[in-house]
């Protein structure tokens, strides 16, 4: 009998924390999303069913943010996967200072995303920042460019900064994948007369696919949840907002808890679908 209780006893603090601070709020958020609830009109709170969702899906503001989210998602996933893979090849080369290089490569991941955003804002600042000094110095422009003042250029820079932070994880996962391939396989292939390209195509790539999948799905979740970098690079302006910023602004700036919760639920749906793929790829074991 004692044995039966022990596991639950061990799990109870975790269950308590997760229950109160995660699961209860998720359910509560859903119930908020079904209400008309503005902090500016505290006496007028009532159920409106799905009306918040309908009004969001009919608003230009939401679709504008949604486009921005999709843009960031596409650019970040593409660039992170390609550059992360290349970085892993680079880091796999054995040199004296490999350990330090690997640690340096992790820095963008390890540091506060908001502060990273600020560092890059200085690089792309509108006056004589680093980028403008460089383009003018090279004669590519004759006056400073306003990098962060037009929608697509801002979004591209946001995506680059997020990519910069996401590369380390993908590179590391690829590296782990690369190093888990038994050396004997390569030897056998070489004895069988395979050249470098066939070896890459028939051994390296297929065996690394599960690891790439982990990288891609985890990057997708990161890319949908971008918040800090957008605020760092463009403040709370509308220009570069994604759905998450939209949800934050609706809730805490316009104080519309009902609508804000509904926007949040739409993001969660979106992130959740990708998340399930992520968890699947985590759970898959690689076999040789």
């Amino acid at each position: 009998m004692k044995k039966k209780i022990l596991p639950y006893l061990l799990l109870s603090p975790m269950i308590l924390i997760m229950g109160v601070l995660v699961f209860y709020p998720i359910i509560a958020t859903f119930s908020y999303s079904l209400k008309k609830w503005k902090l500016t009109a505290p006496n007028d709170i009532h159920m409106v069913g799905l009306r918040n969702y309908v009004s969001i899906l009919n608003s230009d503001s939401f679709w504008y943010s949604f486009q921005n989210t999709l843009f960031i998602l596409a650019v970040v996933v593409l660039l992170t996967t390609v550059l992360g893979f290349l970085t892993s090849i680079f880091l796999n080369i054995d040199v004296k200072w490999s350990g330090i290089l690997l640690a340096v490569a992790m820095l963008p991941w390890a540091l506060p995303p908001y502060v990273n955003g600020i560092l890059w804002k200085f690089v792309f600042s509108s006056g004589y920042g680093f980028m403008n000094k460089t383009v003018i110095g090279l004669g590519l422009a004759d006056k400073p460019i306003e990098w962060l003042s037009s929608r697509w250029s801002l979004l591209l820079i946001v995506s680059l900064v997020v990519t910069w932070r996401s590369i380390p994880f993908t590179a590391l996962v690829c590296l782990a994948g690369r190093q888990s391939i038994p050396g004997g396989l390569y030897e056998a292939a070489r004895i069988d007369g395979g050249n470098r390209r066939t070896i890459f195509r028939t051994i390296t790539l297929p065996l690394m696919l599960p690891f790439l999948a982990i990288g891609i799905t985890s990057t997708s979740v990161t890319a949908i949840n971008v918040f800090d970098e957008i605020i760092a690079l463009s403040g709370y302006s509308d220009l570069g907002k994604n759905i998450l910023v939209e949800s934050y602004m609706t809730t805490f700036s316009f104080l519309d808890f009902g609508k804000g919760s509904a926007v949040t639920y739409l993001v969660m749906l979106f992130a959740g679908i990708l998340g399930i793929f992520y968890l699947r790829s985590l759970n898959k074991e690689v076999e040789y």
Partner: protein, 279 residues
């Protein structure tokens, strides 16, 4: 061929270093540039005169900006302390139960825990904000830190469970034959053999807590709770932005985690890998 390979590697190395460290170096240059030189319309990258005034102002607690930044750093460290004290034991207990014991609902609990890894902060923060307002927790680093813990538990528990699963069961069985109870064998076998993963987990929690922005933006309302990233953001939005000062604050804010990550790189990397790859 050999020579060509070496050149290729060196080029890759230079590109890698510029792209990784460039923003830090540029921000450092700005932080030691006098304010008047920053507005000069020149393509020269380095300033003619170097000044450490910004650092001096930020690191003396007498000045207004300095004391705000120092309080922010102290708040972040306090939160790190609370998250570690709460998070590590709770994650270890859960990981032990989930990886070493058979009981009803194990799969369900494990899956429910993992699924929260991908849920955005915004999905929970509105009710939490109400809870914090009602209980007057908005000024309290402790309750703020429990919210951080709830966002780390899935990842850290997963990490530890994977590691515990690699410790041979025989070790524990032998200890139990020698008269150790379940608890004693956990403390004497599991805890000492898994110190590398405990250190990795602590490192990941430290870095994440130091980085917090979105949660404290909503749940920390006073100077006594705001962590360092929020303080830097307020330097950025105050009506008169002093670039040099903000740059210096940014450098100060990244130094502690950067140095920690470089020193404990082995544990950081094995922790990140362990989170992604089944042990």
């Amino acid at each position: 061929m050999k020579f060509g390979k070496k050149i290729g590697y060196l080029i890759a190395l230079v590109i890698f270093l510029i792209l990784t460290l460039g923003p830090f170096l540029w921000t450092f240059v700005l932080s030691v540039t006098p304010e008047y030189a920053m507005m000069e319309k020149t393509t020269r990258l380095l300033p003619e005169v170097i000044t450490y005034d910004n650092y001096r102002e930020l690191l003396t607690s007498g000045t207004q900006k300095g004391s705000i930044l120092i309080t922010g750093i102290r708040n972040a460290l306090k939160a790190v302390g609370v998250t570690l004290i709460l998070g590590i034991p709770i994650a270890m207990m859960s990981a032990y139960a989930l990886s070493r014991m058979e009981f009803k609902g194990r799969r369900l609990i494990k899956n429910l825990l993992l699924i929260t890894m991908v849920i955005p902060v915004m999905a929970t923060i509105i009710p939490l904000f109400r809870l914090f307002v009602a209980r007057q927790w908005l000024d309290d680093v402790f309750w703020l830190s429990t919210v951080y813990v709830s966002s780390y538990l899935p990842m850290v528990t997963w990490l530890m469970a994977n590691y515990f699963a690699t410790i041979p069961k025989e070790l524990e069985e032998a200890a139990q034959i020698d008269g150790c109870g379940r608890l004693a064998s956990f403390l004497r076998i599991i805890v000492p053999t898994s110190y590398p993963i405990i250190l990795s987990a602590a490192l990941i929690m430290f870095l994440n807590t130091w980085s917090q922005f979105q949660i404290p933006l909503i749940l920390a309302s006073s100077l006594e709770t705001k962590p360092v990233a929020i303080v830097v953001s307020e330097f950025m939005t105050k009506d008169s932005i002093q670039y040099g000062l903000t740059a210096a604050a940014g450098i100060i804010a990244v130094l502690p985690p950067a140095v920690t990550a470089l020193i404990f790189r082995k544990f950081l990397i094995s922790g990140m890998m362990g989170g992604a790859v089944k042990g």
